[in-house]
């Protein structure tokens, strides 16, 4: 009876799994098909997808807003760069940094969760300012001038090579995605969605509100830190200017445009965030003069896109794709199934 009742869900998740495997295999073949500039672009998209997974959980599932996640990106990047500089190998440094941010995330979330809504956002903002200031002031981080990321090898291959970083990123993204997917499909994911929709109802069912909000916050801090470790290798040189409130805002733009109703939104949002500026720079070269030189053009286009999405497509690119797929299937499967999972 159990098997019969859960059949539709497991069949759907079977199809999703197949799709995901095909996508990963196709991605793994990319370096053989496209030149290294585009492999680098795809790597950036995948790094930001890792951030996006945490943001979908935080904002989409648990309904909390952070405007200070650039701090975890910074701690991830600098912490990792300093550790490998001290001789700690890559696959030890990454878990150390991620675990540290899991703990720091929990510590930050717990006291501010006693208040609601805007207070958490304010606390995260303050935390980001502190981290930015500390990094800009320390000697070991090179202060405002920044620091180079030490060269590091993984299984004998240098991470400065585009393809090596690409594969490392792909593997870590798949791992992060699987953990995020398991969580949102478990009772934890249901607890998140429950407290987002009605805290009083969630509490009446035994959900510890502060506990589950903390889980979501710590998880997103950890994924952002993981992305930070990869970003360090991607950019090669770290300076405080790369970890400001602007990055925190970009993370929010990512989930709003990508769609926070499902984990897939993280990928769409990351692709939008990374590819739009590249397209813009190409277009700029084609435009004769003046137009492309307008100050704030990129920020303006991001802002306009954000407003358009909020007004006309609040479920983001993910919602649009789902709507099209549903129409193709003759309107079956309406509604957002975030309680059901990814």
């Amino acid at each position: 009876m159990v098997a019969q009742n859960t059949a539709p869900a497991s069949r759907r998740s079977g199809q999703m799994l197949l799709l995901a495997v095909v996508a990963v295999l196709a991605a793994a073949g990319l370096p053989f098909l496209i030149n290294s500039f585009f492999v680098g672009v795809v790597t950036s998209v995948l790094i930001w997808t890792i951030i996006g997974l945490g943001m979908v959980v935080l904002l989409g599932y648990s309904g909390q807003v952070s405007i200070g996640h650039s701090a975890f990106l910074a701690i991830g990047a600098y912490g990792h760069a300093l550790l490998i500089g001290a001789g700690v190998p890559f696959f030890l440094s990454v878990p150390i940094v991620v675990a540290a941010c899991l703990a720091v995330g929990a510590l930050i979330a717990l006291p501010s969760l006693r208040f609601s809504g805007v207070y958490l956002a304010m606390a995260t903002l303050a935390f980001a300012f502190i981290v930015e200031a500390v990094i800009g002031d320390l000697d070991i981080t090179g202060g405002r001038g920044g620091m180079p990321v030490p060269r590091e090898k993984l299984f004998g291959y240098s991470l400065t090579q585009t393809n090596v970083l690409f594969y490392a990123t792909l593997v870590l993204l798949v791992g992060t995605f699987l953990i995020a997917r398991n969580l949102v499909r478990s009772r934890t994911g249901r607890a998140w969605a429950s407290l987002r929709d009605s805290e009083v109802a969630a509490a009446s069912m035994g959900v510890g509100i502060a506990r589950y909000k903390t889980y979501a916050f710590a998880f997103s801090a950890a994924t952002t830190a993981l992305a930070g470790t990869l970003l360090a290798h991607k950019v090669g040189y770290l300076s405080p200017d790369g970890f400001t409130i602007q990055q925190s805002i970009e993370m929010l733009i990512l989930v709003v445009i990508g769609g926070m109703g499902s984990l897939a939104g993280a990928f769409y949002g990351a692709a939008f965030l990374i590819i739009l500026p590249i397209l813009l720079s190409i277009v700029k070269d084609k435009v004769p003069s003046g137009m492309g030189e307008l100050p704030g053009l990129e920020a303006g286009i991001f802002g306009a896109a954000l407003i358009i999405f909020i007004l006309f497509q609040p479920k983001g690119i993910d919602g649009a794709i789902r709507a099209v797929l549903a129409r193709l299937k003759n309107g079956t499967g309406a509604g957002r199934d975030d309680h059901a999972g990814a």
Binding site: R190, S194, M205, G206, I209, D338
Partner: protein
Amino acid sequence: MQGLEVRHLSMSFGGIHAVRDVSFEVPAGSIFSIIGPNGAGKTTIFNLLTRVATPSGGEVLFDGTNLLGLRQNQIARRGIARTFQNLELFQDATVVENVLAGRHINFSTSIWQEALGVAETRRQEDANRAEADRIVDYLGLRRFRDTPIAYLPYGICKIVELGRALAVKPRLLLLDEPAAGLNATETQRMAHWIRDINTSLNVTVVLIEHDMRLVEEVSHRVLAMESGRVLTVGEPQEVQRHPEVIAAYLGGVIA
């Protein structure tokens, strides 16, 4: 004592006495109704029992445990579940997912086991989904099983909320106006579920209700309130005949 004991419960805020020195007992296995005009303090009593609000005085014991020492999210683990006057369902989720959300405390997996999707997580997920399905079937909601709440009529939503509360596997069920907004047929159906949950599942029920026919039909004892005070407690018939109750609340209906 097995069951619910409320002693000298009071709550006041800003000079208003929402609940004044309310005492009553609900023996295990019975159905108890609280009636009274709007603003009498009925929902406030539920909020005090479930620790949504904190009383200014009094005691609440359930099966001998003092509930006032607990936090809001610990009430379910003591075997108490509730519904809400204005539905607090999860709108985007389907019927079965709402019921499954109510199974929260019946899992014993850690977040690490859930993150890694170990076999034990899957076993408990399957067991709880099966239980959620049993509840959906028990309440006759099978054909709405995979429909999001937002697409369902109000009468069905009331039963889904009942199902979500049942999913907690409570020994005491607090129902806040289960028949409000229901038509005569739906109210009959609700009366049937309340009685059946009480007798077949052996759950003690406390309900707040305005529909006097429902109250009379299902309740063993009735408490009438007005302005935060207890007017009288007794059998449904005698409470309805009580002169103060008639004056305060039922005047137009009975006479």
